[in-house]
């Protein structure tokens, strides 16, 4: 169901540290500038704190358009370059349906149904991501 008006919040999205993992919870409707700020904050925090994983909980996000989709994919890519992994958790079914229809399947993005599952995924040894991974193909 729609929660009606979710007021946009200005400023930074809080980034919490849980052991080796950074947890970010996106809520409601984001300004573009906040998404960009988060992208920057995350890479700075990763390189400073040497965490190995990032979980972005988007269960409170009602819409992902191509802008936010691109920001999420870029966060995942830059996290990878900083020797950490990103998992996007809790995407709503309506958001997934819309993203595919829009043409954005975000192949490089690891996903989990819940934050808990995302933490478990990050605790596992490194498996190749969906896109960049090694694919066994016999000629």
């Amino acid at each position: 169901m729609s929660e009606g008006f979710s007021r946009p919040v200005a400023g930074h999205v809080p980034v919490l540290r849980l052991g080796d993992v950074l947890l970010v919870t996106l809520q409601g409707d984001l300004y573009d500038s906040m998404a960009h700020q988060l992208q920057q904050d995350l890479s700075e925090t990763i390189s400073r704190s040497r965490v190995t994983g990032v979980v972005i909980d988007i269960s409170g996000v009602e819409m992902v358009d191509s802008f936010l989709g691109r920001v999420l994919a870029e966060i995942a890519a830059q996290t990878e370059l900083l020797a950490a992994r990103t998992v996007v958790a809790g995407m709503r079914p309506a958001v997934a349906i819309t993203l595919v229809e829009l043409g954005l399947t975000l192949p490089g993005l690891r996903t989990a149904l819940t934050t808990e599952a995302a933490m478990e995924l990050l605790a596992q040894p490194i498996v190749p991501s969906r896109a960049g991974g090694v694919r066994e193909e016999s000629p």
Binding site: M1, S2, G4, F5, S6, P8, D29, L30, Y31, D32, S33, E62, M63, V64, D65, S66, F67, G69, R70, R92, P93, A94, V95, I97, T98, E101, L102, G103, L104
Partner: protein
């Protein structure tokens, strides 16, 4: 029967904050007209793409929302207009992957897939108007391209 209050609106698109208001208005208007959750999400996403086009490529503009009816079916019509440079090659702008603004190139072609009717009028040098309409409980538009 619902009233048109809460549906009809003219909203400026001049900043990324205005994009938030556009999305919230479309969400509320669609819910009020009886769109289901998935259809609301599609409409809000299409509106976000089109409003961002208006802002980034058109240099800002306006969204108008209105309630339309066809027989017994309610619909929501959203019109995005700007007085920017216009789109020189519409076919190319509508194709996936084409971008001139640093996005993923899904804006125009992608949002067309999220609504029932999609009309774009663009005059180079004087602006672009995109009008989209979706109807409550109507199946999605058939795919025309692969």
């Amino acid at each position: 029967m619902h009233t048109d209050a809460g549906v009809e609106a003219r909203l400026p698109i001049r900043s990324d904050m205005d994009l938030v208001w556009v999305r919230q208005h479309v969400r509320q208007a669609a819910a009020r007209l009886g769109f289901g959750l998935v259809d609301q999400t599609k409409l809000v996403t299409a509106a976000s793409e089109l409003a961002r086009n208006t802002l980034v490529h058109g240099g800002g503009g306006l969204m108008e929302a209105s309630h339309v009816a066809d027989g017994g079916t309610d619909g929501l019509r959203l019109t995005f207009s700007d007085t920017g440079p216009g789109i020189p090659d519409l076919d190319r702008a509508l194709s996936d992957g084409y971008t001139s603004g640093g996005g993923l190139g899904m804006g125009l072609g992608g949002s067309r897939r999220l609504v029932h009717d999609f009309v774009v009028e663009s005059v180079p040098g004087s602006g672009t108007t995109v009008r989209v309409t979706s109807w409550v409980s109507r199946p999605p538009r058939p795919r025309e391209e692969a």
